[in-house]
């Protein structure tokens, strides 16, 4: 990429006051570096991915409200986790975490187990227990 072609599109980097380094060529075809504040193509891909995550969070919220899944699923989605990541944070097998996703089973969980989830999500046990999807 030529130095003069480097995109300077406003992007998500702005929120952290960041730019990124790109290797570009100058007028004599020699390599140098330049900073960019962002690139639209990349921003669109990132936005698409975040949109998908938000859809999943919204769906999980609805499902908690309708008593289809437990709050574990909502907070898992909210923290951009999947079962694999969550199970390693709480130190339990995936099948156990999947069981705890059922509202009926979730209601029977001990404080100790709830605490593990609450810690993984960075919330209190009360917040976890009392989340009703609203």
């Amino acid at each position: 990429m030529k130095k003069q072609d480097i995109p300077q599109d406003e992007s998500n980097l702005k929120s952290a006051n960041m730019t990124e380094v790109v290797y570009v060529t100058d007028e004599n075809d020699n390599y140098t570096t330049a900073n960019s504040i962002g690139w639209e193509a990349k921003k669109l891909a990132l936005d698409e991915s975040l949109e998908l995550i938000n859809e999943r969070i919204e769906e999980a919220k609805q499902n908690v409200a309708n008593n289809i899944v437990s709050p574990v699923i909502y907070f898992m989605e909210l923290n951009k986790m999947d079962f694999g990541v969550l199970s390693s944070y709480v130190g339990m097998w995936q099948w156990r975490v999947k069981r705890h996703a059922k509202p009926k089973i979730f209601k029977t969980l001990s404080e100790t187990v709830l605490k593990k989830y609450a810690d993984a999500f960075g919330i209190t046990v009360e917040e976890l227990k009392n989340f009703e999807g609203k």
């Binding site: 790109v22 900073n35 891909a45 990132l46 923290n79 694999g84």
Partner: protein, 331 residues
């Protein structure tokens, strides 16, 4: 306590940490030099491994591979340590700081407080340097940042003990031995040969063959999984290509810069030409990303768009294959 450490921003975290740590020891190697010697150019397709609900693509080798390979080829020794207990990890780090050793860390990105919110994913192979501690906070040189930052003890522990795939487990590393005389020419040649071998590998999951597999899959995804899923997969392809320090188009340019430097050192004009060639290929990867982005923008774009994207990626794969074959002969 603050060590005498120079922060330089780089395009990719692993090369950046490596080049910043070595510079601190008096060995001046550019980011592209580390990248080239460490055979950083790569492509791998892992269709069965789902990352962020899409297949795994990567334009880079396994985390740690670039620095390890570069160090081995340069005769440098790096010490790597992991700790099962976070408290041990912290005291080992503090001991290093007391001994004037800036230290590289592998960390998870999700809890990096200074990163933009949108970039926080459960990706655990980010790299940064801790170069001091002041008022209870660790001083951080994160190579993809313009400026140095800091993290509290608690914040640093969180990122060092991120869980999930590639969990860092407190991984820290630092050079312990740098030879007086470095045979740069030999290291460059080894790096180039290895890159050609990987990219031309006769297995379907890596290199050119993997690119072709992905390219041929694009229309099939559209047929079987519908546009929404296909667009998400393609988005993942761009993000892996272009997001902070992941590779792709940007990596081709770093490699171009490497070949230009290598041409001087090896006095090999052919490498200078090949540098131009990989630069042109990098531009095509960027165009490819723009074409994918266009699919998002005009939601009802023409129906053969996925075939066209597939064709462009196959074309890039052809050009890259020719490039590595020439490169292999050039050294």
């Amino acid at each position: 306590m603050e060590l005498n450490f120079e922060h330089h921003q780089t395009a990719h975290c692993e090369n950046g940490v490596a080049s910043n740590l070595l510079l601190n020891k008096g060995l001046k190697l550019s980011e592209p030099m580390i990248f080239g010697i460490g055979s950083g150019l790569f492509f791998v397709y892992l269709p069965f491994l789902k990352v962020n609900f899409a297949p795994g693509f990567s334009y880079r080798p396994m985390p740690g591979a670039i620095f390890s390979k570069a160090a081995k080829r340069l005769g440098i020794k790096i010490k790597r340590e992991k700790f099962s207990n976070p408290k041990d990890a912290q005291s080992a780090l503090e001991k290093n700081l007391e001994n004037n050793v800036p230290t590289g860390l592998q960390v998870g990105v999700f809890n990096l407080t200074y990163f933009p919110e949108e970039y926080k994913f459960h990706f655990n192979a980010h790299n940064l340097v801790v170069y001091g501690k002041e008022d209870g906070k660790f001083l951080i040189s994160d190579p993809v940042m313009d400026y140095v930052t800091s993290l509290s003890e608690e914040e640093l522990e969180k990122v060092r003990y991120a869980k999930g795939a590639l969990a860092p487990k407190g991984h820290m590393y630092y050079p312990v031995y740098i030879p007086e005389n470095i045979n740069l020419e030999e290291a460059i040649k080894k790096g180039i040969k290895d890159t050609c071998k990987n990219m031309l590998a006769p297995v379907p999951l890596i290199g050119i063959k993997a690119m072709r597999w992905v390219a041929k899959s694009i229309p099939k995804w559209a047929e079987k999984k519908g546009t929404k899923v296909t667009n998400h997969y393609l988005g993942q392809l761009i993000r892996m290509q272009e997001e902070i320090g992941t590779g792709g188009g940007g990596f081709r340019f770093i490699y171009g810069a490497f070949l230009q430097e290598a041409a001087e050192i090896l006095k090999n004009e052919q490498l200078r030409e090949l540098s131009k060639e990989i630069t042109a290929i990098g531009d095509l990867w960027r165009d490819f990303a723009v074409d994918i982005a266009r699919v998002y923008k005009n939601r009802n774009s023409k129906s053969n768009i996925y075939h066209e994207l597939s064709k462009s990626m196959l074309h890039i794969a052809d050009l890259e294959e020719a490039f590595y074959k020439k490169l292999r002969k050039a050294i």
